[in-house]
Subunit: 144 residues, 2 copies
């Protein structure tokens, strides 16, 4: 999760909402990525989607069994839907996202074989997101 937070900080430096993730396969780091929706002008360029695609290329497998995805924020429904198809063994997220997170639609969005944990480095992730939106509001009020 420390690496995922590093990725989130990279997103922040690039002016993106600071969310990062890493995908690990049996103690081996397969991919690390951060949100790039602004830079790539693409709503699908969430950290999780980038890491899932990239890890699948590496493993030459659509299925990410025996993999763990660590992400700094509860995935959105799009990413949870992708995780359902990819079936990683574990999903670990740092901070909850009651507004945009997949849990609004229930835990059944994920594949039944994916175990879920959360709360790891929650405060660090939430602080980074708060800082990002605070800066954004300040910039906005300067422009007025």
């Amino acid at each position: 999760m420390k690496l995922a937070l590093e990725e989130a900080r990279r997103a922040m430096e690039a002016g993106e909402i600071p969310i990062g993730c890493v995908l690990v396969h049996r103690m081996q780091l397969l991919s690390r990525s951060h949100n790039q929706t602004q830079q790539l002008n693409d709503v699908t360029a969430h950290a999780e989607i980038i890491s899932i695609s990239s890890a699948s290329q590496f493993l030459q497998s659509k299925y990410l069994e025996n993999c763990t995805l660590y992400v700094t924020l509860e995935p959105c429904p799009m990413c949870a839907g992708a995780l359902r198809w990819a079936r990683p063994a574990r999903l670990v997220y740092a901070a909850e996202d009651p507004k945009m997170g997949y849990l609004r639609y229930g835990s059944g969005m994920l594949h039944p074989s994916t175990r879920v944990a959360f709360g790891l480095m929650r405060e660090e992730s939430a602080a980074l997101l708060r800082e990002f939106f605070q800066r954004k509001r300040e910039l906005k009020s300067l422009k007025r």
Copy 2:
């Protein structure tokens, strides 16, 4: 939708589940794509995700306002989640997918500004899917 069905047939020829889509912006065709999850070894390579990414590149915009997505099957939750972020004006799908479609989670998965229609060329799309799974079962029984 005729073009989307052509795309679905291309998927079929490539051994993919036959689903196709096109994205149209003010009468102009922006992208056409079909399911490529097997060829690309990537669960995110659904027709809709490919077309959304590609159309966003063309428009240089994350948002697909004034766009209509025509797809031969009701989108899955991953694709509905992507559509929520991309906010097209309209989604038109041919056949319903009660098992894997997004409506299991309610129509609120899409953006409130996206209008939805379905049933256009439903029979043609459903017949193609039936043919694909029938062939697959036959191949399987031959292998036994």
